[in-house]
């Protein structure tokens, strides 16, 4: 995927009026009796770009699933545009919010074009079948991720990075202006990680999409996201700009890591240089 867009329009800052799109209030999430996330409050404003970071198993995916109405909270609630998401019909949620799970699997033989086309499902009904508009949106989603040439290839025969882009295309075709991505950069080499994050950043900058991404690479998270949310053991530990959140103290608290934080020589964002693992 090339990230140069010679004929792209000048970047316009997303027009954000600070309206809250998605909010979690006193969220407790549990699988059966095992509480995984406790007392979590979070607000996501219109046009924001948030990265969620935290160690393995701290509840990031669980939180994302609750935000996308895939998991019913044991206590507390999620508000989508001010309305309790559990009381919003499935299809209305699907038109407002797109969620890409951590490791989605496509059935054998499904082509990229057909996968992306399925992203249009929330906009179809028995009365309104496949339309020219759907066709255009799918074509555009494919071109955004540079998957046009691979459109007729089966998804299960693609490389990990191509597969990831195919799924992102599907999320784009869903046409929601709220997008939640769970670790979209796993399995990708560094340059493809950059590719995917550039793509997400462009969605945010050029389209004004509200984006939430779970990321493990702290340096990339700090460079691309406007806001970081750090979690540990199901609790929200810190939230703010990368400069506010990525401190040496926080790295010790959240990741048990002794590290130096220096300015990224390219972007100026905070950059983590690990020293050693701290034993608790």
């Amino acid at each position: 995927m090339t990230t140069s867009t010679p004929d792209a329009p000048p970047l316009s800052a997303p027009t954000s009026d600070g309206r809250v799109r998605l909010a979690a209030e006193g969220l407790r999430l549990a699988y059966d009796d095992r509480v995984v996330v406790e007392g979590l409050d979070l607000t996501l404003t219109d046009g924001s770009f948030t990265a969620i970071v935290g160690p393995n198993g701290c509840g990031k995916s669980t939180l994302l699933r609750a935000l996308g109405r895939l998991l019913r909270p044991a206590a507390g609630r999620v508000l989508l545009d001010g309305r309790a998401i559990q009381r919003t019909p499935t299809r209305d949620v699907a038109r407002a919010l797109g969620l890409l799970p951590q490791t989605p699997v496509a059935p054998a033989g499904l082509t990229v074009a057909d996968l992306v086309a399925r992203g249009r499902h929330p906009h179809q009904s028995w009365l309104r079948q496949w339309s020219a508009e759907d066709e255009a949106v799918v074509a555009e989603a494919l071109s955004w991720t540079d998957m046009g040439d691979l459109a007729d290839r089966p998804v299960d025969e693609l490389s990990g990075g191509q597969r990831q882009r195919a799924w992102i295309s599907m999320a784009l075709a869903q046409g929601t202006d709220l997008i939640l991505l769970d670790e979209p950069t796993t399995y990708l080499d560094l340059s493809h990680q950059i590719d995917v994050l550039e793509l997400v950043a462009r969605l945010h900058a050029e389209r004004g999409r509200t984006v939430v991404v779970v990321l493990h690479d702290l340096n990339l998270a700090a460079r691309y996201a406007q806001r970081l949310v750090a979690m540990r053991d199901g609790v929200l530990v810190a939230s703010g700009t990368p400069h506010e959140v990525l401190t040496e103290q926080l790295l010790a608290d959240v990741f048990d890591l002794e590290a130096r934080v220096v300015p990224d020589p390219v972007a100026g964002s905070p950059m983590v240089v690990p020293v050693r693992r701290l034993r608790r």
Partner: protein, 356 residues
């Protein structure tokens, strides 16, 4: 909802390539559908013309079209062959479609009506009807078989949903296997202790179209019709469920509704088919795999095409059974097992079986 507008003119419009690819795929699917329709017509014709008493195409046609005729041929055609063909058509389609649904819902390439306890439930109920109530005709035990199939599926679903994760493909398959093993053991116990019932049951369990009159066809027709409608309604949801439950729900699909529709459709279809003809293997398993070669994983095409191929397979096997053992005949269930098994092995060897 804001629809993204095209903000930059892509140098090479990739949409055109995707569009062209889709056209090619659609053409292949339409072609496959047409071939299947032709095969269905041919199989029906063969089923009416061929039998222990062969009728020429001309004779069969006159007997079919001129209802005032009271010749022996006309009686054979209208009283025996037409009901039998109609039943084969319905049951074959029901088995093919229910196989496609079960494979789609469980995401298990080995899915067939036997997997979800339908066959075991029906067999158990038929044995009960024969042993305890002395019911002796197909038209009589259709209802028992049907009730048993329904009870079997519901039991499997309840058992499969009991765990903490709810009904998943794996728990459903496990519950189905466990319940089937139990019920078949009970069936055998009852048959061993009562040899008189064995003959009646043996005829049912081998799977046959012979000996089922128009009354049986009329009994199961409404259920199969309802099942087919539900199955077609369920097809788009299966496309989404194939991407995993989280993605499906994220795309606006109500999971419970899709599962319930699928469960209703498979119970109606497989239950009615098993009730009418006994447990018939292979059709439900093979038909979806074969048509998947040209439909791909698109259930809007896969489900109806699997139904058509199921009808072709069942009718062809039935005709074959009448030909090979003249003047007697081989039951369709046996022919299908004999021919279907090597065929399926060949299919698996030829191309990678689709992981669902």
């Amino acid at each position: 909802m804001s629809v993204p507008s095209v903000t930059r003119a892509p140098a090479a419009t990739p949409g055109t390539a995707a569009h062209a690819g889709r056209t090619v795929r659609t053409r292949r699917r339409v072609l496959g559908l047409l071939v299947l329709l032709l095969l269905v017509v041919a199989a029906c014709a063969a089923s009416i013309a061929i039998g222990s008493r062969p009728l020429g195409p001309g004779t069969a046609w006159t007997a079919l079209t001129d209802r005032s005729l009271r010749t022996e041929e006309a009686v054979i055609v209208w009283d025996l062959r037409v009901p039998r063909t109609a039943l084969g058509l319905m049951v074959g389609a029901a088995l093919g479609v229910s196989g496609a649904l079960i494979q789609g819902h469980t995401r298990n390439p080995l899915g067939d009506p036997g997997l979800l306890g339908v066959t075991a439930g029906a067999s158990f109920a038929v044995v009960l009807a024969i042993v305890l109530l002395g019911v002796g005709t197909p038209a009589g035990y259709v209802w028992f078989a049907f009730a048993g199939a329904l009870a079997g599926t519901v039991a499997v679903y309840v058992l499969g949903s009991a765990g903490r994760g709810g009904a998943t493909p794996v728990t459903l398959a496990l519950a189905g296997s466990a319940l089937s093993a139990l019920l078949f053991a009970l069936v055998r116990t009852m048959l061993i202790s009562d040899s008189d019932s064995l003959d009646a049951f043996r005829f049912w369990v081998v799977g046959a179209l012979a000996g089922r009159g128009a009354d049986v066809a009329w009994q199961v027709a409404p259920f199969i019709a309802a099942g087919l409608v539900l199955a077609l309604l369920n097809a788009p949801a299966l496309d989404l469920l194939g991407l995993g439950e989280d993605v499906a729900r994220g795309l606006g699909q109500r999971i419970w509704l899709a599962r319930l529709t699928g469960l209703g459709a498979t119970t109606l279809l497989a239950g009615a088919a098993t009730a009418a003809c006994g447990p018939i293997a292979f059709v439900g398993l093979v038909a979806p795999h074969v048509v998947r070669a040209f439909t791909g994983p698109a259930h809007r095409w896969l489900v109806p095409c699997a139904g058509l191929l199921g009808a072709v397979l069942l009718l062809t096997a039935d005709v074959l059974g009448r030909v090979v053992a003249r003047p007697g005949e081989l039951q369709v269930g046996i022919v299908l097992a004999l021919v279907g098994c090597p065929f399926f092995v060949a299919l698996v060897r030829r191309r990678r079986t689709a992981t669902l």
